[in-house]
């Protein structure tokens, strides 16, 4: 139906300065093919707004694409205890961070998806997340309304007048320009099916104004529509479709492939310096023309070892622990 585009074209839909969000959870089901291409196309001043971040976010930060990182978490789980690039760039004052808690970020995305400007929550009272001194966008004068996607306040304290249960917090809706989602299957017209845990994908996709869906495979609409209660998103919410097998590597994808732990650990280790990251990016991003070439460089054997067993939904080949 004319929605099929390439990874390169998908990244062309992203503008410098865009507020952007992604599918997935920490090191699972991140749209890595698009992430690499964003870096290759040298997008700048992105405002990441994410329920949680991970390898993909730290990579964008390392490549200098990110001005604001607004989320609750960044790291590589077992394969890297923090976001090496974010850590360094925050220490150097090169990236603006705005911290909310996980539930708050989720609710912010849910409010965006629901079309309301804010939502109440009990979460995270008593913490420095709500310390007005640490409202970084506010301190930098970015809450003046000049960017209509940045709320005028970080949060608000309000008394519950309905049940008199005390003081709660209003957190502002997340309103990204664009969401890039990697999923297992998309129909030719755009119906999205996600297998396994859905994370916060529904909220992220619905909160965004534009949606790019990258899928392991594009399948007939009729096939997905045999079980409509297993589908997450209808076609008219999807602006563009990219078919990219393995497109979430090195993050994992339920039913498709494992997290590539050694690849991720190597990445993390190299992010402890900018030079290290730059060399890594030179090898794995700038040194290859596109994602298929990247997969070729990884090689059949490595990919095959990550491939999910179709009964387990994960690989039972990859060695994971010390025994």
């Amino acid at each position: 139906m004319g929605k099929r585009i390439t990874v390169q074209e998908a990244v062309g839909m992203i503008n410098d300065g865009d507020m952007i969000t992604f599918s997935g959870f920490t090191i699972w089901r991140r749209p890595m093919a698009v992430i690499y291409e964003i870096i290759r196309q040298r997008k700048r001043n992105l405002h990441l707004i994410e329920v949680n971040s991970g390898t993909h976010g730290d990579m964008l930060v390392g490549a200098g694409c990110v001005k604001v990182w607004e989320s609750c978490w960044i790291g590589h789980e077992l394969f890297g205890k923090l976001g090496g690039n974010l850590d360094r760039k925050v220490r150097n004052g090169e990236v603006i961070t705005e911290d909310y808690s996980h539930h708050q970020m989720l609710l912010r995305m849910a409010a965006g998806a629901l079309g309301i400007p804010y939502i109440p929550t009990w979460a995270s009272r008593g913490t420095d997340i709500l310390n007005p001194e640490y409202d970084m966008l506010g301190k930098l004068g970015m809450r003046d309304g000049s960017n209509p996607r940045i709320s005028r306040q970080k949060a608000q304290w309000v008394e519950d007048p309905f049940f008199e249960e005390g003081t709660l917090i209003h957190v502002p809706a997340a309103r990204p320009n664009i969401c890039i989602a990697h999923v297992q299957q998309v129909g030719e017209d755009g119906t999205v099916r996600v297998w396994g845990q859905k994370y916060a994908d529904e909220e992220a996709i619905k909160a965004a104004d534009k949606v790019i869906v990258v899928a392991e495979e594009v399948v007939p609409e009729e096939y997905l529509r045999r079980e409509p209660s297993q589908n997450l998103i209808p076609p008219y919410l999807v602006d563009a479709i990219v078919e990219q097998p393995w497109g979430a590597h090195p993050t994992g994808n339920f039913g498709c492939y494992e997290v590539d732990g050694p690849f991720m650990r190597d990445f993390y280790n190299k992010t402890r310096t900018q030079e290290g990251f730059d060399a890594w990016a030179e090898e794995w991003i700038f040194g290859v023309p596109d994602f298929d070439a990247y997969l070729e460089k990884l090689g059949y054997k490595r990919l095959q070892s990550l491939k999910a067993n179709s009964a387990y939904k994960y690989s039972n080949q990859a060695k994971r622990g010390s025994r």
């Binding site: 997935g24 959870f25 920490t26 090191i27 699972w28 949680n52 609750c72 978490w73 960044i74 789980e77 923090l82 976001g83 850590d87 220490r91 004052g93 961070t97 911290d99 909310y100 808690s101 996980h102 539930h103 609710l107 849910a110 929550t121 009990w122 979460a123 995270s124 009272r125 008593g126 913490t127 420095d128 997340i129 310390n131 001194e133 970084m136 301190k139 304290w157 249960e165 005390g166 003081t167 709660l168 396994g196 845990q197 859905k198 994370y199 529904e202 994992g252 339920f254 039913g255 494992e258 997290v259 732990g261 999910a308 387990y312 994960y314 039972n316 994971r320 622990g321 010390s322 025994r323």
Partner: protein, 269 residues
């Protein structure tokens, strides 16, 4: 009842004791929120021993999974196997805020004497020395589950009078705007649920005084002394109520941990 067959120091590692001590905090039938790592070991051990009817929720969106292989993170495909529900964050965090969760397991980089935990930065937030991963669900779980158990590394620089950044609220917290340290209930009333009920470190188990909200020493792990603990705490710790030694792991528990819970050695070396 069979007599318990305890392992002696040297027959187990510190991490084994941490997992076992944490598992003992679960009551049967409870609904438990667990994060990656030791929390998973603890709840899965509990399910195979004293709390077979407890329910395990992973933050990424699975409820009561019966993993065949230990997940390496809460987003792992392994979480889904034989779960009651595989959904997403909106479902499970909604249940948390609704008051459905009995127990959360959490960790942290720093903790203070009131149980405030820091997982965000070392140094000034606006110009940090280290930027950690950030809060994740730590503050959410620790203010909306009925109680929370923290698992920490025992070091002087980690058990501090005051943490650099309160990521997760203890028993006396900052009330904004203003920033005064006040008790949870004073600050926010009865809707402020839960809080840290125990801190389990590699040396000891700590609990909190109901009146003052201050941490006190509850039990010391076999092979450590009260003085060892005091030397690794940077505030005046109440040691007057020490009940004695932490119950060591049994051989049965160790067997389950190494052969059923984590046979691949994901978290247990």
């Amino acid at each position: 009842m069979m007599e318990k067959n305890y392992a002696k120091p040297g027959e187990y590692k510190v991490i084994d004791l941490l997992a076992v001590a944490a598992a003992r905090e679960v009551n049967d039938g409870e609904v438990v929120f667990a994060g990656t790592g030791l929390p998973m070991l603890a709840i899965m051990l509990a399910q195979k021993t004293t709390a077979p009817n407890s329910y395990l929720i992973y933050e990424a969106g699975t409820i009561d999974g019966k993993s065949l292989h230990l997940p390496a993170s809460v987003g792992d495909a392994r979480c889904v196997y034989q779960a009651a529900v595989a959904s997403g964050l909106y479902d499970v965090f909604g249940q948390l805020q609704r008051g459905r969760i009995d127990l959360g397991y959490l960790g942290g980089a720093e903790i203070d004497m009131y149980g405030n935990v820091n997982t965000t930065v070392i140094g000034d937030y606006t110009k940090p020395q280290i930027r950690f991963p950030g809060s994740g669900g730590n503050p959410d779980i620790n203010s909306m589950a009925r109680r929370t158990v923290f698992i920490m590394v025992q070091e002087k620089r980690r058990f501090r009078e005051k943490v650099d950044y309160i990521t997760s609220p203890g028993w006396r917290v900052r009330k904004w705007p203003g920033g005064q340290m006040v008790s949870r209930q004073e600050a926010f009333g009865k809707t402020f649920r839960g809080g840290p009920s125990a801190v389990i470190s590699n040396m000891a188990v700590f609990r909190f005084d109901e009146e003052t909200g201050l941490m006190y020493l509850d039990t010391v792990h076999p092979g450590y002394t009260v003085n060892d603990v005091l030397n690794n705490v940077d505030f005046k710790l109440d040691v007057s109520r020490v009940k004695g030694e932490t119950e060591p792991p049994t051989h049965e528990e160790l067997h389950i941990l190494y052969h059923e819970v984590d046979p691949e050695g994901i978290f247990l070396p």
